[in-house]
């Protein structure tokens, strides 16, 4: 073999390895930078207290609470919907039918819609159309639901994270061996009994992965909630579905871009980013680990 061919081969391999390394390094730099600057500033007070002195002191409790409430509402909506849609695609529908094809096409496209367009959709559909309609019908025209609030923000995120849940659930359903279903059918079970007692219990880890990924995504998205319910500063916590709320990601955005004194807010800002990153990242690590387990089982099944 000619030497130069070997040489090019070595160069090419090194180049691909290097590209991989650069990407991993970028990830490490971001995480490291934020952990170094944000970590030390973290304290129990920071997590549990209300903001003080124009948000340059005190804690970020309302933002954490708002994020948790938002994501919880979203989960309650998106998990049943997403799991049911996946069950239809994999357990009920005839494979290759027009409807299945259309749903998959819609899923793929929904996942590619820019986050800011979801924000516009939330404003136009949930707030103006549904909320405004509810106000006219139930509240005699007084403003109750026709305004930005936590319910509409959560539902906007539901639409955004729906593909995540459906795709992850379907992957888990696919990992359940066909023989399990055949045995259940042979024992006289109906289709729903098979789904309810055989397929779903076997796919719990996959559904969990989808849920975690959706929660992580939902907790990190800012563009869709900017106009649908997030508030810059509120002295109270959201208690009703039509209250506005503070949110970690939006808090980061507002403090970064609109703070009058960026140097004074910088430590608190870094700590807030750190909290947000720990939240979304820890969830992601769990999801990735669970998913690689499922994929291994899928390969051996």
């Amino acid at each position: 073999m000619k030497l130069w061919i070997k040489f090019i081969g070595f160069g090419f391999r090194t180049l691909t390895g290097l590209a991989c390394l650069i990407i991993v390094a970028m990830l490490a730099i971001i995480l490291g930078n934020i952990a170094i600057h944000g970590g030390p500033r973290l304290s129990w007070e920071f997590i549990s207290a209300m903001p003080r002195a124009g948000m340059t002191q005190g804690g970020i409790f309302p933002a954490i609470f708002g994020t948790a409430a938002l994501v919880l509402l979203m989960t309650v909506a998106v998990v049943p919907l997403g799991v049911a849609a996946a069950v239809y695609l994999h357990e009920y529908a005839r494979q290759g039918s027009q409807v299945v094809h259309l749903v998959r096409l819609a899923l793929a496209n929904l996942a590619g819609v820019p986050a800011i367009v979801f924000g516009l959709f939330g404003l136009g559909f949930f707030i103006k159309f549904v909320g405004g309609g509810m106000d006219r019908v139930f509240y005699g025209g007084t403003l109750a639901f026709g305004q930005p609030c936590i319910l509409w923000a959560a539902l906007t995120l539901t639409v955004l994270t729906l593909p995540t849940v459906v795709v992850a659930t379907e992957e888990a359903l696919r990992a359940v061996p066909t023989s399990y279903r055949e045995v259940a059918y042979a024992a006289g079970a109906t289709r729903w009994q098979v789904v309810r007692h055989v397929v779903l219990p076997q796919s719990v880890s996959g559904i969990l992965t989808g849920t975690i990924l959706a929660v992580s995504r939902g907790a990190g998205e800012v563009a869709p909630i900017m106009f649908t319910g997030a508030a810059y500063y509120l002295p109270y916590l959201p208690k009703k579905l039509n209250d506005q709320f503070m949110e970690l990601g939006y808090h980061v955005y507002v403090m970064t871009t609109q703070s009058p004194d960026i140097e004074a807010t910088k430590p608190i800002l870094y700590a807030t980013v750190f909290v947000l990153l720990v939240l979304t990242f820890a969830l992601n690590i769990v999801a990735v680990l669970v998913r690689s387990q499922i994929r291994r089982r899928l390969r051996t099944a």
Binding site: I8, G17, A19, A93, N109, V113, V159, L162, T190, F281
Partner: protein, 318 residues
Amino acid sequence: MDPQRNEGLLLKRGRRRGETLMETVVRGSALVVIAALVLIFIFVGKEALPLLTSAEVNREVTLETMVRPQANGQSMWQPVSEKPRYSLAPLLIGTLKVTLVALLIAIPLAILAAIFASEFAPQQLREIVKPVLELLAGIPSVVIGFFALMVVATWLQDAFGFRFRLNAITAGIGLSLAVIPIVFTVAEDALSAVPQAFRDGSLALGANPWQTAWRVVLPAAMPGVFAACVLGFGRAIGETMIVLMASGNAAMMSFDPTESFRSFSATIAAELGEVVYGSPHYHVLFFIGAFLFVMTFLLNLAGHWYVGRLRARLGGNA
């Protein structure tokens, strides 16, 4: 054989009704997915439509004044001024500028990394590399935006002394971090879908592993790799928070990547909060949103069409 055929004969009426109900519920949920996409199109489009139909809106702005280049330097985006100007040209230039920078960084890196992961990395390393790159997708874009604004901008300023601290290079680097995971994932899927027999045949004929990767596997996976680029492009033009935070948001008519700019997505995010409901400005912002939606929709369709072609080409192994 078909379990459903027996159900009608064997089940009690109540249970049969339960079965039908559950089937309706799951089918309805699947249809919600389609409905969501259609509703997005309708409700974003509905608020954009007055731009074409309403005479009141058209007194201030028409589609023609938005897209036609104005005489000497009058193509401006100044929606809140004495005489509002709504030229899309500076926003288009800004969007293309940052997208180009991001793709120039992201596509080579992601595709080379995908080749590494699917062709050269030992099994154990591959099991680590893939999840790590998936983790990159898990960083919220607001965090990347924050990092680009606070850290990357300072580094670049110190290193090159750009006139504008926030520019298309800063934002493009941030944006590339959001694009890399999607390009990597799709490209890696495509490369891994190439049957092992292709590699075995090439190696048996005396080719090196790198010759096999470059001349056999990569060309075979080409539609999928192309799809990865198209989907990455779609992600880049729609991304909002990174560009909003790291672009400087100045709507300038400049192709220079070291100058500040304003993108379509950032314009919506920055202005919709303060706009008067139902004003011409409001409808223009929805129009931009509808444009972004249609653009990303078409790019996505194209991307998935190429993935489909890859599957057809590799004979159902994908």
